[in-house]
């Protein structure tokens, strides 16, 4: 398709952009701005008061327990990002280079499991991990352990659920960037006498970095917003930030405080996102520079 240079006031541009822009202004930018404004208000006897004060923010920054929960959430996000990439990279590499004949079938299977209701899948893990569930039964009958493992309702079960629900994102982003690598570059490296490992480290890995970063950011940011896994698999014993936010709204009915905690989480996500965008841009520039040299 040809790309047409147009003024932003062109009829075609306006016709295609205005509906989307209106929707996003009304129901995306609007709510974000309102949330920011709400953090400067107060709640008195379950009624929102437009008073413009900093009380909520001073509460957020003075209460140690909030930051424990936020810290736990961020470390959970780092851990799940690391594990998801560790799991997804070799799989994406295998899908792009080894299993070519079955790639489309495997893709359908992955997409189906991805689109299946997350609540149901998480509940499925409860049935597997239960003290009297299939997992423990298998472990005992394979002779791997005599004692039933108490895995369910621990932070590790939460981590398992998060990794399970999110590992598909980096799988796809890494797969797409691996598919875009020019096969000739790899063959050229072999011709120049590089070993498989050298070729992977010097050619394939750097060229797949955009997909790697994109997948990592997606997992990190989406982990910041999970409370299904910590509630259903973690048993709610060590709550993450979303659970705290949910409680602030539902149990304590404190909108300004909930809004402030939401802003803190979104700020963390934005910083990570900005760093990742910088990294991708720098990789692109480096690669362009290398290409110019060659």
């Amino acid at each position: 398709m040809r790309v047409l240079d147009r003024s932003w006031q062109d009829r075609g541009v306006l016709l295609n952009s205005l509906p989307l822009l209106t929707l996003l202004t009304l129901f995306f930018i609007g709510p974000i701005l309102l949330t920011l404004l709400l953090t400067f208000q107060e709640m008195r006897s379950y009624q929102l008061q437009w008073v413009w004060s900093l009380r909520v923010w001073s509460e957020v920054f003075s209460k140690y327990s909030y930051w424990v929960v936020i810290g736990r959430t961020v470390s959970m996000a780092f851990l799940s990002t690391f594990l998801c990439i560790l799991i997804a990279y070799p799989a994406a590499y295998a899908l792009a280079t080894r299993l070519k004949n079955y790639a489309s079938h495997i893709q359908i299977l992955i997409i189906f499991s991805f689109l299946t209701d997350a609540v149901l899948k998480t509940f499925g893990w409860v049935l597997v991990l239960d003290r009297n569930g299939i997992g423990n039964w298998l472990l005992q009958h394979l002779g791997l352990g005599d004692e039933a493992l108490n895995f369910l309702f621990t932070p590790r079960a939460t981590l398992l659920g998060v990794v399970y629900n999110l590992s598909v994102y980096p799988l796809f982003t890494i797969y797409l960037s691996l598919k875009r690598i020019d096969r000739d570059l790899i063959l050229a490296a072999y011709d120049a006498g590089a070993s498989k490992w050298q070729t992977f480290r010097e050619v394939t890995l750097p060229l797949s970095r955009p997909g790697l970063y994109a997948g990592a950011v997606l997992v990190f940011v989406l982990t910041l917003g999970t409370f299904l896994e910590s509630k259903v698999l973690g048993g709610g014993k060590s709550p993450l930030a979303p659970e705290l936010i949910r409680q602030t709204f539902e149990t304590r009915v404190n909108w300004p405080l909930g809004a402030a905690l939401t802003v803190v989480l979104v700020a963390i996500a934005t910083i990570v996102l900005a760093v990742a965008v910088r990294l991708v841009q720098r990789t692109r520039q480096e690669q362009a520079a290398k290409g110019a040299e060659a």
């Binding site: 995306f28 495997i106 239960d130």
Partner: protein, 278 residues
């Protein structure tokens, strides 16, 4: 290259890793399907026998069919609205270059990168404040709006991929033959990018159908299926949820296969046309 044995081991290792991941992805899904037929009220292993009772019990639950109806209504409405908006966005993105384009692109993609629960919470605050001013409550319309915000970027990606291979000289030919802009759109452009649009529609339907986080904040007194399941399993497990899961799998699998078939056929046709030209 020099050592065939290590190469072979590498091949097996990598393929094995992918297959292990696939098994990992299907552990809870297979487990649910299995327990939906197990003849026991407590969901533990091993099981005594097999039964279809749980399916009957599911349909006898008074709140099941209303939740099913809400889910279907919201998913169909989300599918229609987000497909129109997403197709507009994809055309805008692939066809034009204009000032503010990058800013607009970033804005349209941001909802995917936003933690869904937080997006839901912000929309909840927005609707609550607006609701006190304009006097309305949370319900099906707010659910649809939330889902549309989240689903539209996915539609844009899928349709944009289809547009990439679209040969727009055909449009010029139709215009030269005297067709109006509207007729070009309806008779040339839409039929040619239809496979991408229909694949995107299926994806949009399924994303809305299975959405939990946004529905959780925006449902008001209405229940969608994921909310029905969530409120059930946090109270106590029952075999009706595996039964519901199994009923959910079959049409979803059919739709995923159909979407993939449409996409593939369209790609084949595009590359086929390109070959004929050259």
């Amino acid at each position: 290259m020099r050592n065939p044995l290590t190469n072979r081991l590498l091949d097996i290792g990598l393929s094995g890793w992918m297959i292990a991941l696939l098994v990992f992805l299907y552990i809870p899904i297979v487990t649910l399907a299995f327990f939906s037929f197990a003849d026991s009220r407590v969901l533990t292993f091993p099981v005594q026998g097999f039964t279809l009772n749980w399916y009957r019990e599911l349909f006898e639950r008074p709140d099941f069919l209303p939740a099913l109806r809400t889910s279907a209504l919201v998913a169909v409405a989300t599918m229609l609205v987000s497909t129109v908006l997403g197709t507009c966005g994809a055309i805008l993105w692939m066809r034009y270059r204009f000032r503010f384009k990058q800013a607009l692109q970033a804005l349209t993609f941001l909802p995917v990168l936003f933690p869904q629960l937080l997006l839901g919470v912000m929309l909840l605050l927005w609707f609550s404040v607006l609701g006190t001013v304009f006097d309305f409550r949370l319900g099906i319309p707010t659910l649809i709006i939330g889902h549309v915000i989240y689903v539209t970027p996915f539609v844009m990606i899928i349709v944009a991929v289809q547009l990439y291979g679209f040969d727009d000289t055909v449009e010029d030919a139709a215009r030269d033959a005297g067709a109006s802009d509207w007729r070009v759109l309806v008779e040339i452009t839409l039929p040619m990018i239809w496979p991408g649009i229909s694949a995107a529609m299926i994806m949009a339907f399924l994303l809305s159908w299975g959405n939990f986080y946004l529905s959780y904040s925006l449902n008001g007194s209405m229940r969608t299926l994921p909310i029905f399941i969530y409120s059930g399993i946090t109270v106590g497990s029952s075999p009706i949820y595996p039964a519901l899961a199994t009923l959910n799998f079959i049409p979803a699998m059919g739709l995923v296969v159909l979407a993939d078939f449409l996409r593939r056929r369209a790609l084949r046709r595009d590359t086929g046309a390109a070959k004929e030209e050259s």
